[in-house]
Assembly symmetry: C2
């Protein structure tokens, strides 16, 4: 029997206990012996839970128990999750986590510490919930240079945008419905302002390019400014507006950003609707691959946490080579201003203005939208070039295009 | 430097050499040292190829060279690929392959032989080309019981069906265009009659349920019978007809089948178009995840072959636990007749007939289609139940629904 501890018995923590219990035999088969949750660390008591008597309130009980081989951290937030992770690694215990904030902020240091102490630090559940993405990037795509990663990384905002697109709802009422359904929190800022997606794209950028950017310093635009004008323009051009985390290299620097993008219907990301996530990887040999599924939720996220537990416990004999990230220097990092891509424009004015805009943007198509407006897609250029080209016209909105 | 040999220098074999050359440094970093293609086995000579002088014609040269740690078999066909694989494993060499025919036919025996000789036998490229699916099923989904796997597993037939759907082409002309584009072979039988997809779903079924079925004995219907009636009915109901490999358990037996299915637009598989593949896995904790990408082609398939090479060479210290498949007994295997699902029907006749059919099928919707026809989707039932319910009506066509 192998003993583990769970830190944080909230949604994902209790979900992981459920996965470990429900699929116990299957998991034991993979690991070679049964996996036992010896401790659950939480501030609360859970007297009615079957595992209620395993609850402890002091991390030292877990750290000091040599029987505990692995700690699954699902507390959320930077502290004390980071501090407990450090302590667990220093006590020689493997750590798995669903905590994107800790990985995106302290990933470089924690991976280094884990290598030093010859333990693993895995975080499949920190991006895309249950969707396999981190391990595939490290193994199945090991034969490739990653060119870019683009994804719908936040289910709450995708639910809201899908509502707006399908039912013509405005942002405020779509947000209310998301809250009523439990998909959005009472304070939805981290989701709708793009910070959650920013942390996730920073983790994906580190996996793709080896350097960890500061999630607070990347170009981040959320969806609070999305209106019916966006959905009307997107519909006219055949596609959808999605909140996209995007990373690629530009002139040897790493660009990571979060922004609403127009996604044409030929791009499979445009069909990722509702609370689902979808992550598109472009690689130099494979081409494009999409990973789609439940990006959040109790059991899906727990499924990824437990996959990491199995991966570690079934390979205990071997020391894993963990990714070697560095903290990005200012010179290694760049921002959305250098991104060259097509842009969607919605402009106001006469047919003559539309002709003028079509020429200025070298647009392939210009489509009339209700209310005497025109939707165009520019040739590839930077956002500034696109804005400058239309300086004399009335621009209602502009978003980059994810091709 | 680690030495490997390539068996078969066709599309995938030469593609793998290209991946190993182009991404040499990256691959060396993963493996800890450089990977060298010491031999290429082929009947032909390649005097103009940079690796032309590595070509040998006798497998013994490779088997007898103790420097060769790994053999990548990309010959296609059952023989001599199977025989060379056996011999390589018996000589203590790891084997990776893209050869679905060998895996689907001899997988049980070859995995057992590899375990006996303490080497690996990996086959990520045998299903879904470059799409990561086999390793994710074994690792990321290890915490889950697999409930079903359903996928578009053949790019040729998906190209043809997409042409028929988008441009109203008939089967014969869409096939001709696929052949002109190099997506279909001069003799397209293995693709259009579903045998290629049958081999792949048999491999996925073995990964999901542990037993290997005989690909020649599973229910297999191709797309040669698909007409404009199918596409018209699918369009009327909001979705597409796709050739689907499907596997699940029914009453403890393993069902695997290949058939055209109607896929409603809410199912992400319905948006997998052209030569792309998409594989939907339903698992008891994760729920549904879709893996999408290039299901064939030189570099995408080679990308998966080389990922397997890296996986083995970067974990040489450890003995891998390979899947333990058994050959399915007659009692463990069942066929499409037991599948309970919704069915799409296109019927001919008056409005009264439509009412009658709606009742008999417990259909939720009945939609008029041009030519005085009606398209309906039945409640879940077996194919026989559905046929019997409509025995007095003129049924133009019926296909199962992938929900």
């Amino acid at each position: 029997m192998i003993h583990i501890a769970i830190l944080g018995f909230g949604v994902v923590g209790s979900g992981s206990a459920e996965v470990l219990t429900q699929n116990r035999e299957l998991i034991a088969k993979h690991c070679g012996e049964e996996v036992n949750i010896k401790y659950i660390l939480d501030l609360r008591e859970f007297p009615d839970h079957p595992l209620g008597e395993r609850v402890v309130h002091d991390i030292r009980v877990i750290l000091d128990d040599p029987e505990v081989a692995l700690v699954a951290e699902m507390m959320g937030g930077a502290h004390p999750a980071y501090d407990f992770t450090r302590a667990a690694i220093e006590a020689g215990k493997h750590v798995v986590t669903s905590n994107k904030e800790v990985v995106a902020t302290f990933g470089v240091e924690l991976l280094k510490l884990a290598r030093k102490h010859h333990v693993s630090y895995l975080f499949e559940a920190s991006v895309g919930g249950g969707i396999p993405i981190i391990r595939p990037l490290q193994t199945d795509l090991a034969s490739n240079q990653i060119l870019s990663v683009s994804g719908i990384l936040n289910g709450t905002t995708n639910f809201i945008l899908t509502k707006m697109e399908r039912e013509g709802a405005d942002f405020a009422s779509a947000l209310k419905e998301a809250q009523a359904n439990g998909y959005a929190e009472a304070n939805p800022a981290a989701d709708v302002e793009g910070l959650d997606a920013a942390r996730k794209i920073v983790i994906l950028a580190a996996l793709a390019f080896g350097v960890l950017l500061d999630p607070n310093k990347i170009s981040t635009t959320g969806i609070t400014g999305i209106t019916k004008d966006h959905t009307a323009a997107a519909r006219a051009l055949g596609g959808a507006v999605k909140l996209i985390g995007h990373t690629r290299t530009v002139d040897g620097k790493v660009l990571a950003m979060v922004s609403p993008f127009f996604v044409p219907s030929q791009n499979p990301v445009s069909h990722v609707d509702g609370v689902f996530n979808g992550i598109l990887v472009d690689a130099n040999m494979l081409g494009r691959a999409l990973f789609y599924g439940a990006g959040a939720g109790k059991l899906p996220t727990a499924s990824a946490v437990v996959a990491d537990i199995i991966d570690i416990l079934s390979h205990r004999a071997e020391e894993r080579s963990l990714p070697q990230w560095r903290t990005a220097t200012a010179e290694e990092q760049t921002d959305a201003s250098v991104l060259v891509c097509r842009h969607l424009f919605l402009i106001e004015g006469c047919a003559k203005c539309a002709d003028k805009a079509t020429k200025a943007l070298r647009a392939e198509a210009c489509v009339g939208v209700e209310g005497g407006r025109y939707a165009l897609i520019s040739a590839p250029m930077t956002a500034k070039e696109a804005r400058d080209a239309l300086s004399e016209l009335t621009v209602v909105l502009t978003v980059p295009v994810l091709d």
